[in-house]
Protein backbone atom coordinates (compact mmCIF):
# COMPACT_ATOMS: atom_id res chain seq x y z
CA UNK A 1 0.00 0.00 0.00
CA UNK A 2 2.67 2.44 1.02
CA UNK A 3 4.80 1.22 -1.83
CA UNK A 4 2.17 2.38 -4.35
CA UNK A 5 2.03 5.85 -2.82
CA UNK A 6 5.80 6.00 -2.76
CA UNK A 7 5.98 4.90 -6.38
CA UNK A 8 3.47 7.58 -7.38
CA UNK A 9 5.42 10.22 -5.53
CA UNK A 10 8.67 9.18 -7.18
CA UNK A 11 7.15 9.23 -10.67
CA UNK A 12 5.49 12.58 -10.15
CA UNK A 13 8.59 14.03 -8.53
CA UNK A 14 10.73 12.76 -11.37
CA UNK A 15 8.43 14.35 -13.92
CA UNK A 16 8.45 17.71 -12.18
CA UNK A 17 12.23 17.58 -11.86
CA UNK A 18 12.69 16.74 -15.53
CA UNK A 19 10.48 19.64 -16.60
CA UNK A 20 12.36 22.02 -14.32
CA UNK A 21 15.69 20.91 -15.75
CA UNK A 22 14.51 21.41 -19.32
CA UNK A 23 13.19 24.89 -18.48
CA UNK A 24 16.40 25.85 -16.70
CA UNK A 25 18.48 24.66 -19.65
CA UNK A 26 16.41 26.68 -22.09
CA UNK A 27 16.76 29.75 -19.89
CA UNK A 28 20.51 29.22 -19.70
CA UNK A 29 20.67 29.05 -23.49
CA UNK A 30 18.83 32.34 -23.94
CA UNK A 31 20.99 33.93 -21.27
CA UNK A 32 24.13 32.79 -23.02
CA UNK A 33 22.95 34.00 -26.38
CA UNK A 34 22.23 37.39 -24.86
CA UNK A 35 25.45 37.77 -22.92
CA UNK A 36 27.93 35.72 -24.88
CA UNK A 37 31.15 37.11 -26.31
CA UNK A 38 29.70 37.08 -29.81
CA UNK A 39 26.75 39.16 -28.68
CA UNK A 40 29.06 41.68 -27.03
CA UNK A 41 31.00 42.06 -30.24
CA UNK A 42 27.79 42.61 -32.19
CA UNK A 43 26.61 45.18 -29.65
CA UNK A 44 29.95 46.97 -29.84
CA UNK A 45 29.85 47.27 -33.59
CA UNK A 46 26.26 48.47 -33.48
CA UNK A 47 27.15 51.10 -30.92
CA UNK A 48 30.15 52.20 -32.96
CA UNK A 49 28.33 52.21 -36.27
CA UNK A 50 25.50 54.28 -34.90
CA UNK A 51 28.01 57.02 -34.27
CA UNK A 52 27.62 59.17 -37.33
CA UNK A 53 30.67 60.82 -38.74
CA UNK A 54 31.82 63.91 -36.89
CA UNK A 55 32.04 67.20 -38.75
CA UNK A 56 35.73 67.49 -37.95
CA UNK A 57 36.49 64.08 -39.43
CA UNK A 58 34.41 64.92 -42.49
CA UNK A 59 36.49 68.04 -43.07
CA UNK A 60 39.71 66.09 -42.62
CA UNK A 61 38.61 63.42 -45.10
CA UNK A 62 37.81 65.95 -47.79
CA UNK A 63 40.78 68.16 -46.88
CA UNK A 64 38.74 71.32 -46.34
CA UNK A 65 38.54 73.92 -43.59
CA UNK A 66 35.62 75.74 -42.04
CA UNK A 67 36.12 78.63 -44.44
CA UNK A 68 36.17 76.51 -47.59
CA UNK A 69 33.24 77.50 -49.83
CA UNK A 70 30.64 74.88 -50.59
CA UNK A 71 31.47 74.75 -54.30
CA UNK A 72 35.06 73.82 -53.52
CA UNK A 73 33.90 71.13 -51.12
CA UNK A 74 31.75 69.63 -53.86
CA UNK A 75 34.66 69.80 -56.29
CA UNK A 76 36.96 67.97 -53.86
CA UNK A 77 34.25 65.43 -53.23
CA UNK A 78 33.80 64.78 -56.95
CA UNK A 79 37.53 64.36 -57.49
CA UNK A 80 37.98 62.02 -54.54
CA UNK A 81 34.87 60.03 -55.35
CA UNK A 82 35.90 59.53 -58.97
CA UNK A 83 39.49 58.63 -58.10
CA UNK A 84 38.42 56.08 -55.53
CA UNK A 85 35.82 54.64 -57.87
CA UNK A 86 38.57 54.02 -60.44
CA UNK A 87 41.55 53.10 -58.31
CA UNK A 88 40.56 53.10 -54.70
CA UNK A 89 38.34 50.93 -52.59
CA UNK A 90 34.61 50.99 -52.06
CA UNK A 91 35.23 51.56 -48.37
CA UNK A 92 37.15 54.79 -49.03
CA UNK A 93 34.48 55.87 -51.46
CA UNK A 94 31.89 55.38 -48.74
CA UNK A 95 33.86 57.48 -46.29
CA UNK A 96 34.21 60.27 -48.84
CA UNK A 97 30.48 60.08 -49.51
CA UNK A 98 29.60 60.14 -45.82
CA UNK A 99 31.93 63.10 -45.30
CA UNK A 100 30.16 65.07 -48.01
CA UNK A 101 26.77 64.07 -46.54
CA UNK A 102 27.84 65.32 -43.13
CA UNK A 103 29.16 68.64 -44.46
CA UNK A 104 26.07 69.04 -46.60
CA UNK A 105 23.87 68.79 -43.52
CA UNK A 106 26.03 71.38 -41.78
CA UNK A 107 25.82 73.60 -44.85
CA UNK A 108 22.03 73.31 -45.02
CA UNK A 109 21.65 74.24 -41.38
CA UNK A 110 23.98 77.19 -41.89
CA UNK A 111 21.98 78.25 -44.91
CA UNK A 112 19.03 79.01 -42.63
CA UNK A 113 21.14 81.72 -41.03
CA UNK A 114 21.95 85.24 -42.19
CA UNK A 115 23.07 84.14 -45.66
CA UNK A 116 19.75 82.77 -46.87
CA UNK A 117 21.26 82.00 -50.29
CA UNK A 118 19.24 79.20 -51.80
CA UNK A 119 21.98 77.33 -53.60
CA UNK A 120 20.47 73.96 -54.33
CA UNK A 121 23.60 71.91 -54.65
CA UNK A 122 22.54 68.86 -56.59
CA UNK A 123 25.60 67.59 -58.42
CA UNK A 124 24.46 66.64 -61.90
Amino acid sequence: MAAKILANLIVMGGGILARAVVQAYRQALTNASKNGVAQEAIQNTIRRASKAMSEQEARQILGVTEETPWEEIVRKYDTLFENNAKNGSFYLQSKVHRAKECLEAVHQSKGQGPQGSSSSSTPS
Binding site: E57, Q60, L80, G88
Partner: protein
Protein backbone atom coordinates in the same frame (compact mmCIF):
# COMPACT_ATOMS: atom_id res chain seq x y z
CA UNK B 1 24.37 49.25 -56.25
CA UNK B 2 25.98 48.46 -52.91
CA UNK B 3 25.03 50.52 -49.89
CA UNK B 4 27.81 52.81 -48.66
CA UNK B 5 29.51 52.00 -45.37
CA UNK B 6 28.25 54.07 -42.45
CA UNK B 7 30.07 56.37 -40.09
CA UNK B 8 33.69 57.44 -39.92
CA UNK B 9 36.86 55.47 -39.50
CA UNK B 10 37.29 53.31 -36.44
CA UNK B 11 39.17 54.69 -33.47
CA UNK B 12 41.72 51.89 -33.62
CA UNK B 13 42.29 50.42 -37.05
CA UNK B 14 41.62 46.71 -37.21
CA UNK B 15 42.94 44.29 -39.80
CA UNK B 16 39.47 44.12 -41.21
CA UNK B 17 39.25 47.88 -41.69
CA UNK B 18 42.76 47.97 -43.14
CA UNK B 19 41.82 45.29 -45.64
CA UNK B 20 38.68 47.21 -46.58
CA UNK B 21 40.65 50.42 -47.07
CA UNK B 22 43.12 48.80 -49.46
CA UNK B 23 40.48 46.62 -51.11
CA UNK B 24 42.27 43.37 -50.34
CA UNK B 25 41.64 40.36 -48.14
CA UNK B 26 42.95 40.16 -44.60
CA UNK B 27 45.48 37.45 -45.44
CA UNK B 28 46.65 38.77 -48.79
CA UNK B 29 50.38 38.25 -49.38
CA UNK B 30 52.78 41.12 -48.81
CA UNK B 31 53.46 41.95 -52.43
CA UNK B 32 49.76 42.20 -53.23
CA UNK B 33 49.28 44.47 -50.22
CA UNK B 34 52.09 46.74 -51.38
CA UNK B 35 50.66 46.81 -54.88
CA UNK B 36 47.20 47.71 -53.60
CA UNK B 37 48.69 50.32 -51.29
CA UNK B 38 50.48 51.96 -54.19
CA UNK B 39 47.39 51.97 -56.36
CA UNK B 40 45.10 53.40 -53.68
CA UNK B 41 47.70 55.96 -52.62
CA UNK B 42 48.04 57.27 -56.17
CA UNK B 43 44.29 57.77 -56.32
CA UNK B 44 44.31 59.64 -53.02
CA UNK B 45 47.64 61.45 -53.18
CA UNK B 46 47.54 64.87 -51.49
CA UNK B 47 49.31 66.41 -54.46
CA UNK B 48 46.58 65.15 -56.76
CA UNK B 49 43.59 66.47 -54.86
CA UNK B 50 43.54 63.92 -52.08
CA UNK B 51 43.63 64.70 -48.40
CA UNK B 52 46.44 64.12 -45.92
CA UNK B 53 44.04 62.41 -43.58
CA UNK B 54 43.09 59.77 -46.13
CA UNK B 55 46.72 59.32 -47.13
CA UNK B 56 47.68 58.69 -43.51
CA UNK B 57 44.82 56.20 -43.16
CA UNK B 58 46.00 54.37 -46.25
CA UNK B 59 49.55 54.21 -44.90
CA UNK B 60 48.27 53.01 -41.55
CA UNK B 61 46.23 50.34 -43.32
CA UNK B 62 49.35 49.05 -45.03
CA UNK B 63 51.26 48.96 -41.73
CA UNK B 64 48.46 47.10 -40.01
CA UNK B 65 48.21 44.49 -42.74
CA UNK B 66 51.94 43.94 -42.99
CA UNK B 67 52.32 43.68 -39.24
CA UNK B 68 54.10 46.68 -37.77
CA UNK B 69 56.65 44.64 -35.88
CA UNK B 70 57.74 42.55 -38.84
CA UNK B 71 61.50 42.32 -38.82
CA UNK B 72 63.72 41.94 -41.86
CA UNK B 73 62.27 44.99 -43.56
CA UNK B 74 64.71 47.80 -44.05
CA UNK B 75 63.66 51.10 -42.59
CA UNK B 76 65.04 52.90 -45.62
Amino acid sequence: MRKFYEGGFQVTMTRREAALILGVREHTPTDKVKEAHRRVMIANHPDAGGSHYLASKINEAKDVLLGKTKGGESAF
